[in-house]
């Protein structure tokens, strides 16, 4: 049974190529603005002026400057990094598998990371966040290998339906072990429940510095691979006909995805739907060339997570929602829209 | 011959935006073989679906024996009109007998699920299509031609007066194509009315009593093959330059397409010969 999925509308919003580069600059400006806006919000409102001062003329006796530097700035920067990484990882997955419904969360990566983290907490009791992040990374890597292998068995390789099902099955399977552990130990459950839904709370510079290198390397690798991904997104046969070594490209791309998605999940836990939603919006704006899609994705992904985080912090002030929940609430309707309008038997 | 199936002012569309078939009138004579031909996208498959109630008309109506098919009870209609869609897929592991048995559905109810009559009719359908020895084999293990015959056997078991077939010979090897068409001709001789969409013009000319040529959702020419298959019509409908000759075996019209390059080369070859001679 084959599912033919129509490509998303190919008329670009930005028609002329010359607009694309300035567009990137505008995107950069937007993300900085969002960062700033996000920092101003919180239990105590802080003005833009104070933010500027805290960065450029730091006064370490000012409480506000300290809050900005040690609490808000790292959190927001972490959010941007996570969003950028997930969006780019999702874009690469969609290009590689020629599947508009691919994304790190749907392919079971998050379930693998969660299981690894729960296992570690179950065994070690109360490890520091840094241990969380190593475990998450390993779990994500193993999961991605397994799901991709499972979903690409057979003549037709990885089709949208097979990958989605493989991801769903793997998630359920691993999830059952995770649940078994959580049921057995109320302490683990208590420790872990905030992490498993994806959150930026308490992400400080130390954690950021530990995880950011993976994502940074991943982002650079992604930009370097962009041209190859455009080629392979045209189809395996066509790419081979054009002289590309598809096996090598797929391998490198997979490593990049693991670095990006694994890094993101180790920093913020499983945040879903950014990897799914952002590439679609970007493709609508810039078209099918991954040399533009990937950088735009990075920016848009960052913006989306920052905004979701803002919403998550405002909506039930002074409490905050985990950003992963907010992202799912915003992203799932879009997924349904995709499934409804873009999948034509 | 009386009209058995009639479309009046029929317009068909899939998504309410693009109209595929435009206000079309068509009469199908009882006991005839009608072939719908035309280029890709002309609406011939759509028309067939409209004739069979798989597609509701946007305007106009389709009447079977003077009754609007969309007002008839589904099972009643299924007892009179059978359809074989394009490229049907049989579920894995389904045997030929089971597939053909499905054709009895419109004649059954929860109370009467498998009468002796049902059994007989299925056996007969298998015999006519020469599939009795394959009865217990899975459908997907058969060759293309045999599979198509199995689906036709199912339509036969349905015991309908009219059979609609959507491209029954596409994707089959040539020998099997002729097999299937011969079978349909035999069924027609037994009194069934056949309407089929065919891709191959020459086959249509050989087997059909009436050809209907469509372009852009409208009928451009209809009638006996000799009337429809003219160079002018072929140019109108298909944009094809062709000459018409008599099929040496069946005496029906046969089209021989011409391509510009071939004509040019042939003319050039001719010129060289005449130059040599002169």
């Amino acid at each position: 049974m084959t599912a033919k999925t129509k490509q998303v509308n190919s008329t670009r919003f930005l028609q002329s190529r010359t607009v694309l580069f300035p567009g990137l600059l505008i995107g950069l400006a937007l993300i900085v603005l969002c960062l700033a806006w996000s920092i101003t919000l919180g239990a105590a409102e802080i003005s833009i002026q104070t933010i500027w001062d805290s960065i450029f003329s730091f006064d370490n006796s000012s409480f506000q400057h300290l809050v900005i530097r040690t609490v808000r700035l790292p959190r927001v920067v972490a959010g941007a990094m996570v969003g950028a990484s997930l969006a780019v990882a999702g874009a690469i997955m969609q290009g590689l598998t020629r599947n508009p419904l691919a994304s790190p969360s749907i392919l079971g990566i998050n379930a693998g990371a969660s299981f690894a983290v729960v296992l570690v907490v179950f065994i070690l009791g109360s490890p520091p966040l840094s241990v969380y992040s190593i475990a998450a990374f390993i779990g994500a890597a193993v999961a991605s290998v397994l799901v991709y292998g499972l979903g690409s068995m057979g003549r037709s390789g990885a089709t949208p339906l097979k990958l989605t099902l493989a991801g769903a099955v793997f998630t359920a399977f691993i999830g059952s072990f995770t649940t078994a552990l959580l049921i057995t130990s109320q302490d683990t459950l208590d420790q872990i429940r905030f992490w498993t839904v994806g959150s930026l709370a308490g992400r400080d510079w130390a954690l950021f510095v530990q995880t950011a290198p993976y994502m940074a390397v991943g982002l650079i690798g992604a930009l370097l691979l962009a041209r190859q991904i455009t080629t392979i997104s045209l189809g395996e046969d066509i790419a081979t006909g054009l002289g590309q070594n598809t096996l090598v490209v797929k391998g490198l791309a997979a490593i990049v995805v693991v670095l990006l998605a694994g890094g993101a999940v180790s920093l913020a836990g499983p945040v879903g739907f950014v990897g799914l939603v952002a590439p679609h919006i970007v493709r609508f704006i810039v078209g099918q060339d991954y040399r533009w899609i990937l950088p735009y994705c990075a920016l848009l992904g960052g913006i989306l997570v920052i905004i979701a985080d803002i919403a998550a912090r405002i909506v039930i002030r002074p409490e905050e929602l985990p950003v992963g929940v907010m992202m799912a609430l915003l992203g799932a309707p879009f997924f349904i829209y995709l499934a409804r309008w873009k999948v034509n038997r | 011959m009386p009209t058995i199936l009639e479309a009046e002012n029929l317009s068909l569309t899939y998504d309410n935006n693009t109209i595929i078939v435009h206000e079309l009138d068509l009469k199908i004579q009882e006991g005839s073989i009608t072939a719908l031909v035309g280029p890709n996208g002309c609406g011939k498959s759509t028309l067939l679906r409209g004739l069979s109630r798989l597609l509701s008309p946007k305007t106009g109506n389709v009447c079977l024996e003077a009754q609007d098919i969309h007002r008839m009870n589904a099972k009643n209609l299924a007892q009179k009109l059978g359809i074989l869609p394009q490229s049907p897929i049989a579920p894995e592991g389904l045997t030929v007998h089971e597939l053909v048995a499905q054709g009895r559905y419109p004649h059954q109810s929860w109370f009467q699920q498998w009468s002796a009559e049902d059994e007989e009719i299925v056996q007969e359908a298998l015999t006519i299509t020469n599939l009795t020895m394959f009865a217990d084999r899975p459908v997907d293990s058969l060759s293309g031609g045999q599979r198509q015959r199995a689906w036709i056997a199912m339509a036969l078991a349905q015991q309908t007066q009219i059979l609609l077939l959507d491209e029954p010979t596409t994707y089959l090897d040539l020998a099997y194509q002729l097999d299937v068409l011969d079978l349909l001709e035999e069924l027609n001789e037994q009194g069934r009315t056949i309407v089929m969409v065919l891709h191959d013009l020459n086959q249509a000319a050989r087997y059909a009593d009436t050809m209907v040529a469509l372009r852009g959702g409208q009928i451009v020419a209809q009638g006996e093959p000799a009337i429809v298959m003219t160079p002018y019509n072929l140019k109108q409908v298909f944009g094809l330059n062709a000459s018409i000759i008599r099929d040496p075996l069946t005496n029906t019209p046969m089209c021989v397409p011409m391509s510009r390059r071939r004509i040019k080369r042939a003319l050039e070859a001719d010129l060289r010969i005449t130059e040599k001679v002169s």
Partner: protein, 349 residues
């Protein structure tokens, strides 16, 4: 009554105007399943912290043994829960069989379709947020499942229902309800959250005769409804066009069958939470045993599903005894690898 052997594969029953056809394999399989079921039942009842030999179990059930202790353990604790396990296994299995039939997809299952996550969301909301007494859970979960199914059907409708869209929309909506469920998990009281987790994992712990009584009427109505639609299910498998050509009212049938499937899934979720994979795996195994004709497939799948869950329950009580795992986890641990094997078998489709 004359069972007439005509073709190689069926038994045909004809009395007067009534005629019925059933695959030859069905009867022996049904018998075998009944026997295995009884064996598993008795073994399961005899296993536990308080050991009772199978012979004593039988005697207690038939009233031949006058031991008050045995009666308590057998009748009050073990028998009802094992019967519940059997019934939800049967319900989920038939639900999955129907879903696989109407979506023409051998990989469909009530859980994957997201219907059960609607039911779970309703149940978790009831437990954690509103703290509704468990007596009302069946109604709450049924409402959750039906609303979810309606939403999935509506959203996947685009001039007709398509099997792929149903699955994908189900996954999407499932994600939305998971998000809400997660919200409650994060902010709820930890004890209730843990209770909810157990419920989410699917458990028959502590199920008593009240639960049995709440399921039986549903099964008595829904299972015959499913069996009566067997012919339509067979025909739907040939494709929408062919079915319509044969006189089946495709949209109506699919709607009714979806409703039956959802109701079966909902009732089992209501009683025992989300027990996964039974609805996926049991129909497959049954299909290999009795073939795809739904007249025999549905009853056999019901029996097989019931036996499977009874067996999983036995394992769940044995594996980390004296503690027990929720039965849903055992079905996932066995079911998911089997499903992966199925994906492997279906890889060239």
């Amino acid at each position: 009554m004359q069972p007439t052997k005509i073709k190689h594969n069926w038994w045909i029953l004809r009395i007067g105007g009534f005629s019925y056809k059933i695959d030859k394999r069905v009867l022996p399989v049904l018998l075998a399943l009944i026997v295995i079921g009884i064996v598993v039942l008795v073994t399961s009842v005899s296993y536990g912290e308080y050991d009772i030999t199978p012979w004593q179990v039988l005697q207690t059930i038939f009233g031949l043994e006058e031991n008050a202790r045995f009666e308590l353990v057998v009748w009050q604790f073990r028998l009802p829960r094992i019967l519940v396990a059997f019934m939800i296994g049967a319900a989920l299995s038939v639900s999955g069989t129907i879903l696989q039939g109407i979506t023409r997809n051998p990989l469909a299952d009530p859980g994957i379709l997201g219907v059960t996550s609607g039911a779970s969301f309703a149940a978790v909301a009831a437990i954690v947020w509103y703290q509704i007494p468990t007596v009302y859970l069946p109604f709450v979960t049924f409402a959750g499942a039906t609303i979810m199914a309606a939403l999935i059907y509506l959203l996947a409708w685009k001039g007709g229902s398509s099997s792929i869209r149903l699955i994908l929309v189900g996954i999407g909506l499932g994600a939305v309800t998971s998000a809400f469920t997660n919200l409650m998990i994060v902010f709820g009281d930890i004890r209730q959250v843990q209770q909810a987790y157990v419920w989410l994992a699917g458990s028959v712990y502590g199920r008593d005769w009240d639960h049995v009584r709440s399921i039986v009427p549903w099964l008595l109505v829904l299972l015959p409804m499913a069996i009566l639609q067997a012919r339509q299910l067979n025909t739907l498998n040939l494709g929408d066009d062919t079915s319509k050509g044969l006189g089946v009212n495709v949209e109506l049938q699919r709607g009714i069958l979806l409703l039956v499937s959802v109701a079966l899934a909902a009732i089992s979720v209501a009683v025992s939470g989300t027990v996964g994979f039974v609805g996926l795996v049991a129909p497959h195994i049954t299909r290999r045993l009795v073939g795809p004709a739904h007249e025999g497939l549905i009853p056999a799948a019901a029996l097989l599903g019931g036996v499977l869950v009874m067996f999983a329950d036995l394992i769940s009580r044995w594996v980390i005894s004296p503690s027990e795992l929720p039965v849903g986890i055992v079905t996932a641990m066995i079911g998911a690898p089997y499903f992966m094997y199925l994906l492997y078998l279906n890889r060239n489709k």
